[in-house]
């Protein structure tokens, strides 16, 4: 884990792509969020795709961090989509009562990029 940049952020034109593959426990989650916001502030971005296909467990804490981050980055002008959620993760979250409504979602990176390029899509619906 490199300090200051634990989760790599890729840039595809004006869209940022970040892949979360490690367990987002507290300090890492805070760094991740700070990183995202700092990068957008510095470079600007029209879209952000957060790929969580590497997460086999998302508890309420991580769900909250992800949702919060998505809302923050959206506020800063980067339309944000969370993609790649695993079926068992989705099932577990809704059973706990977490629907992450208000956060856009797509099946995978492709679908996420497609969603952003179309300029609209399923948000809280």
């Amino acid at each position: 884990m490199r300090s200051g940049n634990p989760i790599p952020i890729l840039r595809i034109k004006d869209t940022l792509l970040v892949t979360v593959e490690v367990d987002l426990h507290d300090r890492l989650a805070e760094a991740f969020q700070a990183d995202m916001l700092a990068t957008i502030e510095r470079q600007g971005a029209a879209g952000l795709v957060i790929d969580i296909s590497g997460l086999d467990i998302v508890d309420s804490y991580v769900a909250r961090v992800l949702a919060e981050t998505a809302r923050m980055t959206s506020l800063m002008g980067a339309e944000t989509v969370i993609v790649g959620m695993r079926p068992e993760v989705a099932a577990t979250l809704v059973r706990m009562g977490y629907t992450m409504s208000g956060v856009r979602t797509a099946l995978d990176v492709d679908a996420g990029l497609g969603l952003l390029s179309r300029g609209h899509g399923s948000s809280s619906a």
């Binding site: 993760v89 099932a91 809704v94 059973r95 099946l107 619906a125």
Partner: protein, 303 residues
């Protein structure tokens, strides 16, 4: 399957079973003292018994060769002699259960087991009559033997039942699997016709099956048709909403179809929030909507 645990056979259960049959320590002592008589006669009784088994086609088939027959007879001998070991503790019960498990596994039906044991009981009765002159002692001896045999038989029957119930559970699971068919009606569009009651367990399975298929087919729309669901109450509505929410987390939308007038009435009166899903009364309309979501449409063919 661990029958000791399945039958919840601990010290307490053991003493309950013994109390029910009336099997006390003095019975066990008496049985131990009868051991020499049993040793003298059991082989003869077993020979008699196997003559009967071999005379019936169904049971003869279980002993295809002399080696198997010999093994069975020896095992039978040990089993019957076990009645006169003078103990009835958890080890004894575990022993008996092991045998019961084998019987069930090789397909020895309860009727054979009970038949065998009852025959043995009567053979022994006659031998005890000859060997014990005093009527009181004879009565007491036979009572103790009877109690022990009953204790054994109860365990054996419970084993059969436990094994059948276990098999039933597994069949039920298989049926559950079969009853959640998810159909790919078009690229990116899944259809799940729900038929029958939706309890909590089933709903969970339905949701999981749908989610797996959404990923597999890269679906963007899931049509849930509930025309075949007899009762739509808060529980069912809650399951539908949860499934919709989960499907959305995978980036897909849900279209609920097959909503009858009465279901519509119920859902509104219950205050079910359907803002998160599309709803249609007719499946055809739902399919049309789903197709439009993935950018397709149904056209009339000219001529």
């Amino acid at each position: 399957m661990d029958f000791m645990v399945a039958l919840k056979l601990d010290e307490r259960e053991l003493s309950i079973r013994r109390a029910f049959v009336g099997l006390h320590d003095e019975d066990l002592q008496r049985l131990a003292s009868l051991r020499p008589i049993a040793e003298k006669h059991t082989s003869e009784v077993i020979e008699d018994f196997y003559r009967v088994l071999l005379s019936q086609e169904e049971t003869r088939a279980m002993f295809p060769d002399p080696a198997t027959l010999e093994r069975a007879k020896r095992a039978q001998y040990e089993y019957f002699m076990g009645l006169f070991a003078g103990r009835c503790d958890l080890d004894y019960a575990a022993d008996r259960l092991r045998v019961g498990t084998t019987h069930e596994r090789i397909g020895l039906a309860p009727k054979w087991y009970i038949g065998a044991y009852t025959r043995y009981l009567w053979f022994l009765h006659h031998r005890l009559h000859d060997e014990i002159p005093s009527p009181e002692e004879r009565e007491a001896a036979f009572e103790s033997v009877h109690k022990m045999v009953t204790f054994d038989m109860t365990l054996a029957i419970d084993t059969y039942i436990a094994a059948y119930l276990d098999s039933l559970d597994r069949h039920r699971a298989a049926i559950r699997e079969l009853s959640t068919p998810v159909i790919a009606v078009h690229e990116g569009v899944l259809l799940l016709p729900l038929v029958g009651a939706l309890d909590a367990k089933r709903s969970e399975r339905v949701m999981e099956a749908v989610l797996l298929r959404v990923v597999e087919e890269q679906a963007r729309v899931v049509i849930l048709d509930i025309a075949g669901v007899p009762v739509v109450d808060t529980g069912v509505a809650d399951h539908l909403l949860k499934t919709t929410a989960a499907v959305r987390l995978l980036g897909a939308q849900t279209v609920l179809t097959g909503i009858s007038a009465s279901v519509a009435r119920t859902m509104v009166q219950l205050g079910v929030d359907v803002s998160t899903m599309h709803t249609k009364s007719r499946l055809a309309d739902g399919i049309q909507l789903a197709l439009s979501i993935v950018g397709k449409t149904i056209q009339e063919v000219a001529g």
